[in-house]
């Protein structure tokens, strides 16, 4: 159990390192955070508690696959109002946003 938890923490750290290598710079991060709160927030709520779109709080996203979240943001979700953001955001931008959500946004 303990070992397992350490492995998870290690994996998370590795993941964090892996993403931070290609992470957007500070200015871009500020723009993305603004986009998340204001434009994503138009459907998902200013505090990610949901609206026309589902809520995206850390508790709700817990256990969801990072890759599938990245795919949803990139390609959108057919049959719903969720657009694909690939025309407007880079893969790095999208990964950074998904990680921010997985860590919990807005920060508690």
């Amino acid at each position: 159990m303990m070992v397992h938890r350490h492995a998870v923490v290690l994996a998370a750290l590795l993941l964090f390192c892996a993403t931070s290598v290609a992470a957007p710079n500070a200015k871009r991060q500020a723009q993305l955070e603004h986009l998340l709160a204001q434009d994503c927030g138009a459907c998902h709520g200013l505090h990610m508690t949901g609206g026309l779109g589902p809520d995206l709080t850390r508790a709700t996203l817990a256990g969801k696959s990072r890759d599938s979240l990245i795919a949803t943001v990139t390609q959108g979700r057919p049959g719903t109002a969720m657009p694909g953001w690939a025309p407007l955001l880079s893969p790095d931008d999208i990964r950074w946003l998904v990680d921010l959500l997985l860590q919990g946004y807005p920060a508690p």
Binding site: D39, T49, A81, L88
Partner: protein
């Protein structure tokens, strides 16, 4: 002793201040929603100034406002289910209730006595006494097939005959709730009206209720003169088309412009404003514009339209001549234009710049900016003259 003398003096001053404060009307007042701080400014169009800033409205990330028929009170519908009643004269929150968990908009009844709120969570409509905000009626929406929750409700408007009309996003329905016989409404349900109605409007005469569909092309139209004829599908081409373009912000149908028997609506996803004949409801033209339109707002004289756009073109506003259908001005007011509101007679246009933290006042005839007012991430702007318009 000294203290009580001071108190007396202060009371006297206060009283004389009250007695001296001039009488005033509220017809040139309005409110500006500040979405991130949960606050509202009271504005005066005549002097182009802010009179007061009120706080404590909760989550206003999606907010709308209606006015009492005497134009004294503004009812603010917040995202978090908050319903607040502002007294524009005393500049205070008169009443406030949390009526739902996640709400999207509201309406005031024809007689001004009822306030209806449409909710995502719990899916349905709740109706309140306009004076006390006590609940009068609860209209739960259709449960979803898996029984987990009820359909989200959108496009709530008031209609003649003391009715409210609204659409059920998840189950594809339009309902009317008739309060003419008292506080227990008579509900009429129109099912199978199309996939995912996302917003709706009522024509200025209160006759046609039109819901835009997100899940398929076309609009669902209910003729309120003839509800027995059911919901018709109009504007078959209206929608995202086969390509299903990504839509970065849902277009708003409120403020739908009708001029000279033409109606102008924001296309869904496409960079176009669509024109249709408002007698036949057939599309007659598509005007290319700078981005995905959000609001298509008509100057009250109907001659020009102001159009704003979804991200990433939300720093622009285009002005369209309704007669020639030409874009006559391409304005760059600043970052993130969210909403535009004309004064009732159209001598001013106010617009909000969310990311510019300001509200701008424009002369819509000379197309010159007249003034700016500071505001924190402003979104909706609402003038009290809405009180006298159906569907607002």
């Amino acid at each position: 002793m000294i203290r009580s003398t001071l108190l007396l003096a202060a009371t006297g001053l206060l009283l004389s201040a009250c007695a001296l404060s001039p009488l005033r009307g509220t017809g040139d007042l309005g409110v500006v929603v500040e979405r991130t701080t949960g606050s509202v400014q009271i504005i005066e169009s005549d002097t182009r100034t802010a009179l007061a800033r009120l706080e404590g409205f909760g989550d206003l990330s999606h907010a709308s406002v209606v006015f009492s028929r005497d134009q004294r009170y503004a009812y603010v519908f917040g995202r978090d289910g908050g319903l607040s009643k502002i007294d524009l004269l005393t500049q205070r929150i008169d009443h406030r209730v949390i009526q739902g968990g996640n709400s999207i908009g509201g309406a005031i009844s024809q007689d001004g006595k009822l306030i209806a709120v449409s909710n995502y969570v719990p899916g349905g409509v709740k109706v309140f006494d306009a004076v006390t905000l006590q609940q009068v009626a609860d209209i739960p929406a259709t449960p979803l097939a898996d029984g987990s929750k009820r359909s989200r409700v959108v496009g709530l408007v008031d209609a003649p005959g003391q009715r409210f009309v609204f659409s059920l996003f998840d189950t594809g329905e339009i309902w009317t709730a008739d309060f003419s016989q008292g506080s227990t409404p008579r509900i009429s349900r129109f099912t199978g009206i199309g996939q995912q109605p996302y917003d709706a409007l009522i024509t200025p005469d209160g006759r046609y209720y039109m819901a835009g569909l997100f899940g398929e092309d076309g609009m669902a139209q209910l003729d309120l003169w003839h509800p027995e004829r059911g919901v018709q599908r109009v504007l078959g081409d209206y929608g995202r088309g086969q390509a299903k373009l990504p839509v970065y912000k849902m277009p708003h149908l409120e403020g739908w412009a009708v001029a000279d028997n033409q109606a102008f609506v924001p296309a869904v996803g496409r960079h176009q404003v669509l024109v249709m004949d408002s007698r036949t409801w057939q599309q007659t033209a598509a005007i290319p514009v700078a981005g995905q339109p959000v609001f298509v707002t008509s100057r009250p004289d109907g001659r020009q339209l102001w159009v704003n756009f979804a991200y990433p073109d939300n720093d622009r506003v285009q002005v369209i001549d309704t007669e020639t259908r030409a874009v006559v001005a391409d304005l760059r007011p600043g970052p993130a234009v969210l909403h535009m509101e004309f004064t009732a007679r159209g001598d001013q246009l106010w617009l909000s710049l969310r990311d510019g933290d300001q509200v701008q006042v424009w002369d819509p005839y000379s197309l010159k900016q007249l003034s700016t007012l500071p505001a924190t991430a402003p979104s909706g702007i609402f003038f009290s003259s809405r009180a006298q318009k159906m569907g607002y």
